[in-house]
Symmetry: C2
Subunit: 315 residues, 2 copies
């Protein structure tokens, strides 16, 4: 039986997930990070990998960019829980004929980014295989007051995103179609940045938070499902730059589909209780949390349920 036939990646993950049994596990599988408690301190732990020809192509990515991306996407997970990254372990798979210069540049990207965030690379592993894999395990610290889980949204919270969406997925499309210009969009795909700085402030006032690695629709569904509530998104409020709209027109894609179903924006999606609304700066209000289940997109007074999930590795 193939993974597709049981419903793909999401069903597979449900199938292989067991609940944690230990009281020091604050959050186990099912959020952007696991949260454990060590002598009263909360640690946020995550692992995320970039794989050749899956997450990056050597046609477009420089080795420095690959190194940077491997770190940024893990920082993004820690940031989305309101945490600060501290330590990283790098598990590296290289091809037997990988050039040393490639590895040097890869690590230039890794160390440039870990330095930016004051992360210590404390360990790792090196092996050979038939495609390049950079698998990062990252450990951060979270103040209990700042912890923002997928499951912490409350009905009547306002829903925000930190910045414009849909850039990265359309950036990839432009590269694939070999279209000139639109450097901002291509860079959004090639050099994603975590929103750690923003999360430091926002996590003090937000209830739930998640990073948008898999499209706004998928991440909103995660928050709604884990928080046992619903969300209404206002289509016209979803921030999309004119450049993204223009590029989408050029390649024949819907800009809103790019924002809703495109991946790798690494912006933060978060919900805020009404009493904290005045504290939120530098983010876009896009909707509300509802008591009733279901995620809906409202446009010109029409309401459409969003059911589609994000990228499926086995779809």
């Amino acid at each position: 039986m193939k993974i597709q036939s049981i419903g793909g990646e999401f069903e597979l993950i449900k199938r292989i997930t067991k609940k944690s049994r230990v009281k020091n596990v604050v959050v186990g599988i099912g959020d952007d990070c696991a949260i454990i408690q060590v002598n009263g301190k909360y640690l946020a732990i995550t692992t995320d990998s970039v794989i050749e020809d899956v997450h990056f192509s050597l046609k477009w990515f420089s080795p420095i960019q690959i190194g940077k991306k491997a770190i940024e996407i893990n920082v993004s997970d820690i940031a989305s829980k309101g945490g600060v990254p501290r330590y990283a372990l790098i598990s590296l798979i290289l091809k037997k004929d990988t050039d040393v210069e490639f590895v040097d540049k890869l690590y230039e990207g890794i160390y440039e980014t870990t330095k930016k965030y004051s992360i210590d690379v404390i360990g790792g592993n090196t092996a050979h295989g038939n495609q390049i894999v950079i698998d990062v395990c990252m450990i951060g610290e979270v103040r209990k007051n700042n912890l923002c889980l997928r499951s912490s949204a409350k009905p009547n919270d306002a829903v925000f995103v930190t910045d414009e969406l849909g850039k990265s997925t359309i950036g990839l499309k432009l590269l694939e179609k070999n279209i000139l210009h639109y450097e901002t969009l291509k860079k959004a795909y090639l050099e994603p940045k975590s929103q750690l700085e923003k999360s430091g402030l926002l996590s003090r006032y937000a209830n739930a938070m998640i990073d948008i690695s898999d499209g706004l629709a998928s991440e909103t569904l995660h928050i709604a499902e884990k928080s046992k509530c619903g969300v209404i998104l206002y289509k016209e409020k979803i921030p999309i730059t004119n450049e993204t709209k223009s590029a989408c027109k050029l390649v024949g894609k819907s800009a809103y589909d790019s924002a809703l179903y495109g991946g790798e924006d690494y912006e933060l999606l978060f919900t805020v209780p009404r009493e904290n609304l005045k504290k939120i700066k530098g983010a876009y209000y896009i909707g509300n949390v509802t008591k009733q289940n279901g995620v809906y997109l409202v446009s010109n007074g029409k309401k459409k349920e969003i059911k589609r999930k994000g990228y499926d590795h086995f779809g």
Copy 2:
């Protein structure tokens, strides 16, 4: 420039390693685990992967055995520092056409082994690629008094191993040559076991410790190098079973070479100060730590320097 031309894996690792900058990092890159301090508690963190056609072949391994092995080798790293494993994150790469039954059995092996050691699987990641990879990040706790680093050996310490060596590498050879019987040796390769139970006791009395994943020679060299001392090993004292000797004869390999240069035994190699010698039970004395640098093998009064390192992924 290829990795081979700069001297292989070991030189590559030196090249990409930077020293830790933070005072909470007790041990960074260069030991079996990193050790960090969190509110006064020591955590041991490691990452190790098993890769299809590198660490396992589907010709010989059942999926349950692959799952078990992925956990055992990480527990072995934690055990070798005197720690107790607590949490694991599993970063999984599957092929698009991997059967669900394979994944179910793989996780049966993973959960059977994590249950045995009371480890909580708290997170992970799933992606597709063109070979199966199970990359585990494991976090354990270590009492400060039990911490056994590669760098803690002292001149005049006695050197021990927990059990007979060379089984696993010859087990693989038997499988490759399709030779019947010798099930113990094949099982040593297919179902390695960490020495966590022994390490719980031994780490209280040992100075340095390391797990033998890469052959006795390589691991002894690691201890000598990191502890800035030397080691003399007595060849005739290296424990090797008669079965191993008989199988080695059959396939035309030296039994001592299997012990010294064969991988994946997952026994513990450790050094003990003289005053603790009486406390050591269930282990084999094989040599001594010396003030003078260099690792030597003594046999019938003749002394030979050991320089060869272990398995090189890019050799």
